[in-house]
Symmetry: C2
Subunit: 232 residues, 2 copies
Amino acid sequence: MRERLFSVVRPTARRASVAIDLVPVTPMRGGLATLLVPSMDPRAREPWILPWDAPRDVETLDDGAARVCRAALGGRSVPLEQVGAFGDGQRHPGEAEISITFAALVPLGGASVALEIEARWFDVDALPALAPRQQRIVAAALESLRARLDLASVAFRLLPPAFTLTELQAVYELLVGRALHKASFRRTLQAAGVVEPLAEWRSDGRGRPAQLFRRAPVDDRAIRRGVRFELL
Amino acid sequence: MRERLFSVVRPTARRASVAIDLVPVTPMRGGLATLLVPSMDPRAREPWILPWDAPRDVETLDDGAARVCRAALGGRSVPLEQVGAFGDGQRHPGEAEISITFAALVPLGGASVALEIEARWFDVDALPALAPRQQRIVAAALESLRARLDLASVAFRLLPPAFTLTELQAVYELLVGRALHKASFRRTLQAAGVVEPLAEWRSDGRGRPAQLFRRAPVDDRAIRRGVRFELL
DNA sequence: TCAATAGTGTCTGTTAGACATTATGGA
DNA sequence: TCCATAATGTCTAACAGACACTATTGA
């Protein structure tokens, strides 16, 4: 069978149903958690779905994702990352043909803010049953966060403005999926100048209180000074 | 203004015009080149566009991209990478509302195969005028190749099965955007066992002939042996 | 012999990781 | 005082990069 030639036939864009799906992600209890909302669709078999909406006429996809995000998180705005587009060419009841997915990076502790809707955070290792495509979407979103070259920027966006180095290390470990060496981690952060100490300490009730840090304003320094740390 | 609540209102997917755009990429004359086709749309201002088509009813997006790819490359199949979805919410004449973009990794030398259509390879640093969105799409595709965590797999897919180490290094340098140290590069490849020497040599006419290599079947070895080389 | 490219040997500064130790809070 | 957590000091093996060198082809 012969493929269509571009120079002869001009293709016409096809209209397809499109949804913007959101995968909200936050560090929680030593792991990552994602936010699901109850499915209001009577045709759906699974009770939980990812927050979603249709893109609107006059907004960019990024703006649409931000809108879905605000609706799901009770008005809060958090950093978004596009994960990709999914579509298996089959029409499942109540499911768009094409789903464009964004991960929402909710900072540590952000899961505890009051949600205006009936939503729940689930540990990503203990999700309820999801529709097949939704399952793939969640997996892809986590994968894309973990595989990101610029790990530092993902890590910092999963943390509040002030954090302890232990928290930063824990987030890094979630992302790379293995334990890191504490002394090494701290030495390199300092050498690269990617964090700045604050004049504040925080105690968890037991043990020595930890100093709080923030991300340093400029972090090209890591490159300038030739730091080779694989995680920065 | 109040945001919509998921628990109250169930959104409905919107139908939008969707296109699959392809960014074919290949190493060429010391840089990267991309394939453009003549625009057959009389409404278009720019004479060249990226190869594209509409997704079909019963195919996945990946299959659709593979189809566009075969049509553009004269039947050849090459590895594809999804870059992302683009849509500014505005309707430009002859342009889909949403464009889902794939990069096609055409191995070194693949640009010289006969194309069945009126297509041309352009150095990515000397592209003709493109529509604004197409320009953004090309930039994003290159960015995503360069920023990939798994540089090795992108590099090998931009090379034929048998290649010289100088070629491999050149591709790496294109991807990371800087010169690499020859001795270091080779030492690390050997230590990690990511390439295997073949019993073949190739001469460019002058200088000592270079040995040909292929990618080693298993490359978890790099991890097993604890290789830390930033590029593997 | 020269030019050009492929490929290797040796050295050194830097760093990741191991390990041990000190510091500082609460009970 | 004991426990728990934070934070740091020292040592070592390993590696990236610098540099110089050898190897192998064609002209």
